[in-house]
Symmetry: D3
Subunit: 136 residues, 6 copies
Amino acid sequence: MKISVCRKAHFNAAHRLYNPDWDMAKNDAVFGKCNNPNFHGHNYTLEVWVKGDINPETGMVIDLKLLKNLIKDEIEERFDHKNLNLDTEEFKTLNPTAENICLTIWEILRSKIDTALELRVRLYETERNVVECDGK
Amino acid sequence: MKISVCRKAHFNAAHRLYNPDWDMAKNDAVFGKCNNPNFHGHNYTLEVWVKGDINPETGMVIDLKLLKNLIKDEIEERFDHKNLNLDTEEFKTLNPTAENICLTIWEILRSKIDTALELRVRLYETERNVVECDGK
Amino acid sequence: MKISVCRKAHFNAAHRLYNPDWDMAKNDAVFGKCNNPNFHGHNYTLEVWVKGDINPETGMVIDLKLLKNLIKDEIEERFDHKNLNLDTEEFKTLNPTAENICLTIWEILRSKIDTALELRVRLYETERNVVECDGK
Amino acid sequence: MKISVCRKAHFNAAHRLYNPDWDMAKNDAVFGKCNNPNFHGHNYTLEVWVKGDINPETGMVIDLKLLKNLIKDEIEERFDHKNLNLDTEEFKTLNPTAENICLTIWEILRSKIDTALELRVRLYETERNVVECDGK
Amino acid sequence: MKISVCRKAHFNAAHRLYNPDWDMAKNDAVFGKCNNPNFHGHNYTLEVWVKGDINPETGMVIDLKLLKNLIKDEIEERFDHKNLNLDTEEFKTLNPTAENICLTIWEILRSKIDTALELRVRLYETERNVVECDGK
Amino acid sequence: MKISVCRKAHFNAAHRLYNPDWDMAKNDAVFGKCNNPNFHGHNYTLEVWVKGDINPETGMVIDLKLLKNLIKDEIEERFDHKNLNLDTEEFKTLNPTAENICLTIWEILRSKIDTALELRVRLYETERNVVECDGK
């Protein structure tokens, strides 16, 4: 029987949504206020879910302290208090929509977590806008 | 790889739970205080989850502004500040339990959203009572 | 030195806002959708704050189990799963706005709580609409 | 079409994480502050999800009052205001990690709920640490 | 007897904290990551509290629809999806700390709300950082 | 004009409520399940509010990073993952009710924060039980 465990984290970042292949009018039509050239920002809340067997010696699926530190080192250090478009390699050319941020975080964490464990990432951009990725 | 996106919304409504085929005693036994003939009410919180591929041009699965407006036009306009039993077509004869409201919302939205996208609806009747429907 | 203690509670009720001295047009202008003659409803969240000295024998300002039961007997029993306009003495003629509900709850509880203790009542009608009364 | 319904509940308990087969140094290395021999504690929030067909007579999957009472009798009575290690049969020898508590609750409730209904249990140990079990 | 009423709102913005009279080293020492020259951002949650007498004709202290619209016109239009440092008059030279944003919002709203009503503004910059201003 | 700023923090602890001058029957009558001799526990959420003038050079009342670290060093280190009755000097003889914990935290922080700043401490023992102390 598999158990899922989750660790939550937060990061605050600025971003702008736009497609450089489009002119300003089309970017405004599609992305609205999110296309502000001077950027806007969010408090992102992240849930990282890991699913696997309980280790009978520890009673844990994964040590949540390790998962907490992994999220800190790989995600918070990279994105917290950053301008996603200007300060990060990941979104230099990739549009930092909530979907793309979530997928990017999933890919970063997937490469660092034992493949015997399933991985699911949920990202809250605001209280009302949420995205989720499980790699399937 | 599929990504899920969610938009939250709210509506406030009155309702009464009862089965017209039963007498008052049986309705009271089954529905308790929810069978108050003068109605009671709730702040309903709605989560609409849509799952699909990321459009590479927009970086989005679905434009959340469109989804927000769809929920506003199809669900909030229909149910917000209404008496579900008296003011709506949907619950004239269907008992407005959380389960039936959730299923009805799923059916309304399913008919309006591209079938290439999967749809899941979660409804909070109170902080402690929640229902969810994914059409399966 | 005084300490404040708070107990939260919930009740779900239907209501309609209107002034019987006004015609329907004026009621609609002032109360909008809240004037639906068939009622709508809310999950009300209540915070009851009591302020006073710590009793050195118990380490408490007031026994929160007693406060919980007082709220249950005096407020939840009276208003939960009720139509405030039709089912309660308090709002037969008093318009059940959040302000009037909060004031009414304050008055009911004030008469039941030791006057050596200060009383403050906060009422959430929705997540975004809140009222508070401290009797001053 | 299946609908999921959820009831939330709470219990407050003390616990200590450790493996009696290990010495104190290894227990400290693995469980950190959670290995305090004098115990620490949490407010646990529990979500019990049940999935099944809507009964056409009631409009319900399961009567949430019954589910609420089942959780009260089987889980809250057993674990609320208890020391999980010292006061409960379940964790006399089983390490009360969030994973093991969640699995134990799933097993207790699974034996009491109609097998035609699917069961999923989510447990929040803190706002940031969550586990989930669906028996698969 | 006075009653307080509150309306909540949200806006998402980018900002940078720094003092132009200081060099980069001192700005980094004081403002840390908040001094990122490329900006970062937040979901700001705003509570606007107004205190006064209940109008006996309406049962209200202030029409919350009017207060909602005032917040929308004066605050959300001005700050939502903006870069506070670059896009707003208010923070061209004033450092957009949570304290200064809260004070600025208080001053804007104070000039628009009947002086018979007391005004208090609370601003959540993150879930853990909050500021409040009541003009005293 | 004064501004209030708040920093939130968390700690998880075990405790038992009882008065050693009373017999078990009286302790049970007054403290109920909280008198479990094996302890129970809570996730405590702490809000520390500081009120004062905005420093015109920084735009801040107090550096929230300093306040965060003060809470970490003085409160979290002392109480997190502890048994309040057994592991702390403060509650060796003082009954660790929410009121007494809140007052104790206020006194510890009061001695460490500039007296030009007003101090208010709010403590959530559960979602429904809250206490607050401002030293008056």
